[in-house]
Subunit: 365 residues, 2 copies
C-alpha cells in the first residue's frame, strides 16, 4: 500500500457488518483514538451501540455506499460474506482493507481449497459438485464419510450435509439446496487448532499463540491456549497461515483453521478453512494477550505497527450460544472469568449471544 497514508488518531474507519465482530472492532478502534462508522442493513445491529456513526442500508444501495465512502477514511469488514460487488464499488472510492483480492477466495470454498492446495499446503481431499450427477465422481475422489458444503455463504456449520456409508448422496444434495458445492473427504483428526495472524500493510506478520478449538454441531464451542501441540507443530501452523496471508496480499487479521492428524506416526497439519477477518477462536486474545485480535486488525489496516501478540495468561474461551446466555448471572460471579455479552436483542437457537474467558496464570509458552 505505498500510496495510502497511515491513519492518524481522530480518523474514521468504516466497518461493513454490524455483528459482534464489528462491535469488538469498533471498541478496539476507539481505544486507539479512532472512530467508527458501521454500515449494516439490520437496524438492530449490536455494533451500532458503540459506533460514532451508522448507516442502515442494503449492501447494494449504491447511493448509501457512496455516502459511506465519502464519510470515512478507510473501510474494513467484519464478515467475509459481504457481497464482493459492495467491496469493489467502495474500492473505487476509498481504501478497503483487506481488499476484494483477499475477500474473494474466502467467499468460495472451492476457490479457497484450490488456492491453499496450490500453495502446496495440505487440505482434505475435495471435489467440485456443480450438479447432482457430479456427486458420484466426487465421492469416488473423497471416499466416505464426506461432507457436502455449499461453495458460498457458509459459516457456523450452515449449508453442510454429511454423507456416511449407506447414505443417499442425493439427499445431501437436496439438503444443501441443490446449489454449487464442494465435497470434502473426512479427516480423522486428533485436534482442531487455529492460527490468528495479523499482517500489516508492509507485509510484517504477528501471530497469537496457536489456539485449540472444539466444535459442537458445526459451531465453535470452546477455544483454549496453549494448544496441546509441540512447538514445532505450532511453528509450522503459523508458517502456513503466513504463506496464505502473503499469497492473497492480506492486510489485517486472518484466521486459519487446521486439523492436526497423525499420519505415519507424525503430526500433520491439514487446513480446514480460512476467514479473512477477526475470528471467534481469537476472542481469548482480548482477555489474555497484550494486544487483542481486534486491536491487531485495526493497527494493520491503519498502517500502524502490529501490536504485541504475547500472551500473559492461559485462557479457555467458551461461547454462549442460544439459551446458554441465560447463565450470565452465575458466570459473572465466577472468579478469574471475563464475561462478554453482545447486546443482541433476541436469543435464537445457534445464535452467538456472548462468550466468556477463564484466565489462569500462564503455564508455558
Amino acid at each position: 500500500m505505498p500510496d495510502l497514508p497511515a491513519l492518524r488518531p481522530g480518523m474514521i474507519i468504516g466497518i461493513l457488518g454490524g455483528g459482534q465482530l464489528g462491535r469488538m472492532l469498533a471498541m478496539a478502534a476507539a481505544e486507539l483514538g479512532l472512530s467508527c462508522h458501521v454500515y449494516c442493513p439490520d437496524p438492530k445491529s449490536p455494533a451500532f451501540a458503540v459506533a460514532a456513526a451508522r448507516t442502515i442500508a442494503p449492501y447494494d444501495d449504491e447511493s448509501a455506499l457512496a455516502a459511506f465512502a465519502g464519510a470515512v477514511d478507510l473501510v474494513t469488514f467484519e464478515f467475509e460474506n459481504i457481497p464482493v460487488g459492495t467491496v469493489r464499488f467502495l474500492e473505487g472510492r476509498v481504501a478497503v482493507l483487506p481488499g476484494s483480492g483477499a475477500l474473494e477466495p474466502a467467499q468460495d470454498r472451492l476457490a479457497e481449497k484450490q488456492l491453499i492446495s496450490g500453495l502446496g499446503i495440505p487440505v482434505a481431499p475435495f471435489a467440485e459438485v456443480s450438479r447432482q450427477a457430479d456427486i458420484y465422481s466426487a465421492l469416488a475422489r473423497t471416499g466416505r464419510p464426506a461432507i457436502l458444503k455449499t461453495r458460498r455463504m457458509g459459516y457456523d456449520g450452515k449449508g453442510q450435509a454429511l454423507i456416511r456409508a449407506g447414505d443417499d448422496p442425493v439427499a445431501a444434495w437436496r439438503a444443501i439446496g441443490e446449489v454449487p458445492a464442494v465435497l470434502e473427504g473426512h479427516i480423522a483428526f486428533e485436534r482442531e487448532i487455529s492460527v490468528i495472524l495479523a499482517r500489516g500493510r508492509d507485509g510484517a506478520t504477528a501471530a497469537f499463540d496457536v489456539t485449540e478449538n472444539v466444535h459442537e454441531a458445526g459451531i465453535l464451542a470452546r477455544s483454549s491456549v496453549p494448544a496441546e501441540v509441540s512447538a514445532e507443530t505450532a511453528a509450522e501452523a503459523v508458517s502456513i497461515a503466513a504463506r496464505i496471508a502473503e499469497a492473497v496480499g492480506h492486510v489485517g487479521v486472518l484466521a486459519v483453521e487446521m486439523f492436526v492428524a497423525t499420519i505415519g506416526g507424525r503430526p500433520k497439519l491439514i487446513v480446514n478453512e480460512i476467514a479473512p477477518r477477526v475470528h471467534n477462536s481469537g476472542h481469548w486474545t482480548g482477555d489474555a494477550a497484550v494486544a487483542s485480535q481486534f486491536e491487531q486488525h485495526i493497527r494493520a489496516i491503519a498502517g500502524w505497527p502490529l501490536g504485541d501478540a504475547g500472551r500473559h495468561s492461559d485462557a479457555v474461551m467458551i461461547n454462549l450460544i442460544g439459551q446458554a446466555v441465560d447463565n450470565w448471572p452465575a458466570l459473572l460471579a465466577e472468579p478469574g472469568t471475563r464475561v462478554h455479552l453482545y447486546g443482541k436483542s433476541e436469543t435464537l437457537p445457534g445464535r452467538k449471544m456472548g462468550h466468556y474467558t477463564r484466565i489462569r496464570p500462564r503455564s508455558r509458552a
Copy 2:
C-alpha cells in the same frame, strides 16, 4: 438498595459526563451487554463515539434531564463535579448510583476532610478559609508550607496555591479567586498511593492491588503496581477506603488517594483526597487485572456481583498529557505496551489525551 431490581443485559445506563472516564465506562458496559446514553453539555465529548445514545444539553436543563431520566434504567456519573442539583433532580425520577449522598462530600474539600477525620482516619492538618482574614489563623493551625485549595471544583491541581515560608498568604487567596477554601498543611510523605475500591449495592467490597502514584504539576503522571508498601500497609489502606465507602453509602467505584509518611519510624497513612468514581490511577486495571475498574463500577451499580480484582501482570501506567500524545507512533511500536487514546479533538496543555500501560509478568502480590 432493596427496592431496586438488578439490571439485565440490554438495559440502558445513563452516564452524566462525556469525558474519557465516561468513554471507558461506556465500553465496559457494552462488554457486559448493557447500552449507554451519555449526557454532556459539550458536543465534542469523547464518550459520545462509543455510546448508543447521547444528550447534548446543560446540566440545569430540566426538560432535557427529565427526558434523559425517562430514557434510561439507571444513572451514574463519570465526574464528581456534576452539579448536585442535577443529581437530585434525576433522583426524583430514576435511580442514581452512587447517589447524591456519596457525591456531596466529594464536591467540597472541607466537608470531605471533616467526614474522613470524623471517621478517625488521619488527614493533613486543615482549616477553613472563608474570607481573607481567616488565612492567618489557618496558617497558625497548619504551619508552612501549606496549600490553599478552593472548596469546590478542584481537580488535576486546579484551584490551588502554595504558601511557602516568606510568601504573602494574601497572594495565594487572590490566586485561587477569593472563594471559600481550605488550607492544608504540608505532609512530608515518602510516597503517594491510591486504593481503587468497588462497593456493591449489597455492601460487598473488592479492592484492586494498591497503586503507587507520581504527580507532576498537580496532575497524575504515572501509576505503578505493585506499590512499594508492605502487605500490612496495603491492607490498612484498603480498610480505610472501605470504611469511607461504607460511611457515605457509596455504590460503585471509589478512589482514595493517600500519603505514606514515616512517623516515629513506622509507616503512617494519611488520606489526601477521595473521588467517588473511577479514577485515573486505576486505569492500569483495564490492562493488568481480570476485571477493570470500569467493569467493577458497572457491575456494582447494576446490582451484579463484583468482578475479580486480581492482577495478572505488573503494570506501569503513564498519562499522555498535552503534546506528549504526539509520541503515539513510538508507543504503538513498543512491545508489552497498551496504548489508549481518548479521541479528543484538540490537544491542550495539561489536558489528558490518553495513557499507556507497560505490562510485565507478575512479580509478587
